[in-house]
C-alpha cells in the first residue's frame, strides 16, 4: 500500500518536473526547420549524419595524410643525405671530368693513352691529345701508369677549397708547362748550336728560381709533385751549368737524367690537358 502511495505521489509531483509550456511553439520551430534545411547541411544533435561533420572529419583526415606524406618525404631526404655523406670525400679526390689528365703514348704506339679519372676502356675520342705527346716516347707502360695515378692525385688537388690554393695550382701548372717547353726545346736543339745553349741556359735559370720558389710553397706539399719539382730542379741546374763549350757528353748526361727519371712523362701527366703551355 505504501508502495502504491509513493508511485501515485511521485507521478503527481513529477508532473511539475521540467513542465513544458502549455503552448508548443509549432510555427516558430517549423519556420526554423525550413530555414535550416534551406541553408544546407549543418550540425545536428545526436550524431546525425551531417555533411558539416563529415567535412570536418574529412579535412582532418586530409591534413593527417598530408602531414604523413611530408614526414615521409622528409625522412627519405634525410636518409638520402645521410647515406650520401661518405661519397663526398671520394668525389673530391677524383679529378674533375672537365680536366682529364692525359698520359702520352709511348713512341712505339703499343699502348693507348690513359686518362686519369676515366676508365681505360673509355672511347679514345674522349681523350684529348696534344701534338707534343705523340713525340715523346720515354719510359715503359708500367711507369707511365704509375705516373698517371700520381698525376691524377696532383691534379685532383687542383680545385682546392680556397682561392690561394687555386692560385698556387695555376702557377704550378704554368711553370710545369714552361719547363716542358724548355726541355722539349733542349732535346730538339742542334748539338753544335752554342748560341741556343746560351739562350736555353738563361731560360733554365729563370725556371730554376721559380722551381725553388714552388718547392717552398704549398704546392710542394703534394707527395707526387714535390719529387717532380726536385727532379726538374736537378735537370735545370744541369742545363744552367752547360757552358757554351760543353761537350756532347755533358748533354748526354742531361738526356740520361731525363730518361731515367721520366721527367718529361711526369711533367705532361701533371699538366692538365688543354691548359696553356709555355705561358
Amino acid at each position: 500500500m505504501t508502495e502504491d502511495n509513493f508511485e501515485k505521489f511521485l507521478q503527481q509531483t513529477a508532473q511539475k518536473y521540467n513542465a513544458p509550456p502549455a503552448r508548443v511553439p509549432r510555427e516558430e520551430m517549423w519556420n526554423a526547420i525550413q530555414a535550416k534545411r534551406a541553408a544546407g547541411p549543418h550540425v545536428v544533435y545526436g550524431g546525425g549524419a551531417t555533411y558539416l561533420i563529415r567535412h570536418r572529419f574529412g579535412a582532418k583526415v586530409w591534413l593527417g595524410a598530408v602531414a604523413a606524406a611530408m614526414l615521409l618525404v622528409a625522412t627519405g631526404v634525410g636518409i638520402g643525405r645521410w647515406t650520401a655523406v661518405p661519397r663526398q670525400p671520394v668525389a673530391a679526390t677524383n679529378p674533375p671530368p672537365t680536366q682529364p689528365v692525359v698520359v702520352p703514348a709511348p713512341e712505339n704506339g703499343a699502348s693507348e693513352p690513359a686518362q686519369a679519372g676515366v676508365s681505360p676502356t673509355s672511347p679514345e675520342g674522349q681523350v684529348p691529345r696534344g701534338g707534343a705527346q705523340s713525340r715523346v716516347g720515354e719510359g715503359n707502360r708500367a711507369v707511365a701508369t704509375n705516373t698517371v695515378k700520381g698525376g691524377a692525385m696532383s691534379v685532383a688537388s687542383a680545385p682546392s677549397t680556397n682561392g690561394a690554393a687555386s692560385a698556387y695550382q695555376l702557377t704550378a701548372v704554368q711553370h710545369l708547362s714552361e719547363a716542358e717547353a724548355l726541355l722539349t726545346s733542349f732535346r730538339a736543339r742542334s748539338t753544335a748550336d752554342q748560341q741556343m745553349d746560351a739562350q736555353l741556359g738563361a731560360w733554365a735559370r729563370q725556371l730554376l728560381s721559380n722551381t725553388r720558389l714552388l718547392l717552398d710553397s704549398p704546392v710542394a706539399n703534394d707527395p707526387q709533385r714535390r719529387p717532380l719539382l726536385e727532379d726538374l730542379e736537378l735537370v735545370l741546374v744541369q742545363i744552367v751549368q752547360l757552358s757554351p763549350g760543353s761537350t756532347s757528353q755533358d748533354r748526354d748526361l742531361i738526356e740520361k737524367t731525363l730518361q731515367q727519371d721520366h721527367v718529361m712523362t711526369r711533367l705532361r701527366t701533371a699538366i692538365p690537358a688543354g691548359s696553356q703551355r709555355g705561358g
Binding site: P25, V44, Y45, G48
Partner: protein, 191 residues
Amino acid sequence: MRMVAYESRSSVNDIQLITRVVAGDAAAERELYETYVDRIYRLAFRLAGDDELARDFTQATFIRAFEKIGSFRGESSLSTWLHSIGISVTLNGLRKTKRQRNREAPMEEGITVGSTKVDAEPDLKERLARAIDSLAEKYRTVFVMHDVEGYTHEEISGTLNIPIGTSKSHLFQARSKLRVLLADFAPEWVS
C-alpha cells in the same frame, strides 16, 4: 495520469504519409510535423528543462527525420522511429551541453556541488527536481518517459531499443533511488 494522449495513427496512414514525404510533398512534411511535434517537444523539454534547448532538439529531430525518412524500413511504427531520433538527438545534445557547462563552470562551483544540506531545500518541488536530475541518464530517461510523460513500457522499449524488462527494471531503480532521496517527505505519500 496522462498529460498528453497519444495520437494513434494507423500504419496505413503512416505508410502513405511517408511515401508522400519521400516524394517531396511539402504538405506531407508539414502534416508529419504537426502530428508528432508536440510529443517530441514535450519530451525534449522534460529532459532538457530549457525551452531553447527543447526547440533546438525538436528542430534537429525533424530535420534529421526528413533527411533519413527515405531509409525508413517500417520495422517499427513511424512514431517509435521518430521518437528514437528525438531521444538520440536530445540525449546527445544534453551530453554536449553538460560538457560545455562543466568546462565553463568555475572550479569552486564544482566543489560545492553535492555538498548542499537537505535542510537548505525544504521545497518538495526543488528537492524532487534535484533528485531526478541526480539519476543516471538511463534511469532518468525511463522515469521521465513513463511516470512523467505517460509512455508505456512497449513504447519506451521501442524508442530506446531496450527490452521491456529492462525498461521496467530501470523504472524500478529510478523509483527506489528517488524514494531514498525523498525520504524526508515520506509523510507526504504515507498520508
